[in-house]
């Protein structure tokens, strides 16, 4: 499960873009600034990699694992992660 401080979110959507398993989406409620903060999709696929937490420029996201048994990471379905040096075409 993720917790989002909605007033801090500026809607850059980097968390949605960078999530390696596409577990996040824009929510359908607007916050005070008039932007849509992220939320988990209905079928919860979060593997607790905590990339969204680390990459959020406004420190608005907190990843909390509901169950201690679920700590072990689910396999990543697609590799959205670019290598540090970028892709060499």
């Amino acid at each position: 499960m993720i917790e989002v401080r909605e007033d801090w979110c500026k809607g850059c959507n980097l968390c949605i873009e960078r999530c390696p398993i596409d577990a996040l989406e824009e929510s359908d409620v607007l916050n005070r600034r008039g932007i849509r903060p992220p939320r988990l999709k209905k079928e919860n696929e979060c593997n607790y990699c905590r990339l969204c937490e680390l990459i959020c420029p406004d420190l608005a996201i907190t990843v909390i694992s509901d169950d201690p048994d679920e700590e072990e990471k689910k396999p990543v379905k697609k590799t959205l992660l670019t290598p540090v040096g970028g892709k060499i075409k």
Binding site: G11, P57, L59, G86, K87
Partner: protein
């Protein structure tokens, strides 16, 4: 000490929550650098009463205001000079300087050069966004050739300043450059920089979608962040390709910005040497007094 595992606990420990949310634009990389610094400080377990942040003027220099620790917001470019003063007053403090590319490389260039030459014990985190963002998008000395700014409307014709190369040449103890989109290497680097005695420079390539990306047609936030992934290369890969690669590969990576740790040496810092000097003189004085008796 309670071990911190989630960002929420981290925020409670390190942030002045009354100051949040930040003034940074949507998609700015500065907040990410702040978070990496927090994780590094947390992993090291430093006492926050013994850490002082200094900064000059600019977007990056707003950062100490968001941290629940002592900070110094100084004149433009002089953050390193003020930090030297703090370190001289009490060498027990850990000094972290947040500075931007215009602040550090442009206006405070000489302060930077001489702090690195003297090897003063501090960690300089330079957040490089290729532009003077806060004052309205003037051309910074680190901007790549051909980039557009308000003071260079037809494209930049000045060669950019590689601040990491400069720091290596001056013999700084730790020099590294990282992007903001990959968390773990920068956190490790900040930790190493903080642990080093002597001058350590960490350069971060932070996206600036408002002032730099918009004028240079780099697209929206998503595309601008991807530009940094596509136009950078690890120093190890770069060296390998430049030695063993084919002409085609060399052509591809030639213009990319290199990331990685450029220098990691152990020279004595300024205040270590200064203490030794004081001890030596004291011994000498004691000997001469004995001789007079």
């Amino acid at each position: 000490m309670v071990e911190i595992k989630t960002a929420d606990e981290l925020n409670k420990k390190f942030l002045r929550e009354g100051m949040w949310p930040t003034i940074f634009c949507n998609g700015c990389g500065h907040g990410v650098v702040l978070e990496y610094t927090f994780w590094a400080l947390e992993e090291l377990g430093l006492d926050m009463d013994k850490v002082i942040f200094a900064s000059g003027i600019g977007c990056s220099s707003r950062l100490p205001g968001y941290i629940n620790a002592d900070g110094l917001h100084t004149t433009h470019g002089r953050a390193i000079a003020f930090a030297t003063g703090i370190k001289a007053a009490d060498p027990d403090f850990h000094i972290i300087v947040f500075t931007g590319d215009g602040d550090c490389a442009g206006i405070g260039g000489n302060h930077f050069i001489h702090a690195a030459r003297r090897n003063i014990d501090m960690t300089v985190i330079m957040i490089n966004n290729f532009i003077y963002g806060m004052t309205g998008g003037q051309l910074a000395p680190t901007a790549p050739l051909g980039s557009v700014a308000t003071t260079a409307p037809y494209g930049n014709i000045e060669h950019p300043f590689d601040i990491c190369d400069l720091a290596c040449a001056l013999g700084a103890n730790y020099v590294a450059r990282w992007g903001v989109s990959h968390p773990y290497q920068p956190i490790k680097s900040i930790k190493e920089g903080l642990q080093k005695k002597g001058f350590s420079l960490l350069e971060f390539l932070a996206p600036c979608p408002t002032a730099y990306g918009r004028r240079n047609k780099l697209g929206d936030i998503k595309k601008h962040w991807a530009w940094y992934d596509d136009n950078t290369i690890l120093i190890e890969d770069y060296e390998k390709i430049m030695t063993y690669g084919s002409e085609e590969e060399k052509e591809q990576v030639k213009d990319k910005i290199q990331l990685g740790v450029f220098q990691d040496i152990q020279k004595p810092g300024f205040f270590e040497s200064y203490e030794k000097l004081v001890d030596r003189l004291k011994e000498k004085e004691a000997k001469t007094k004995e001789g007079k008796k």
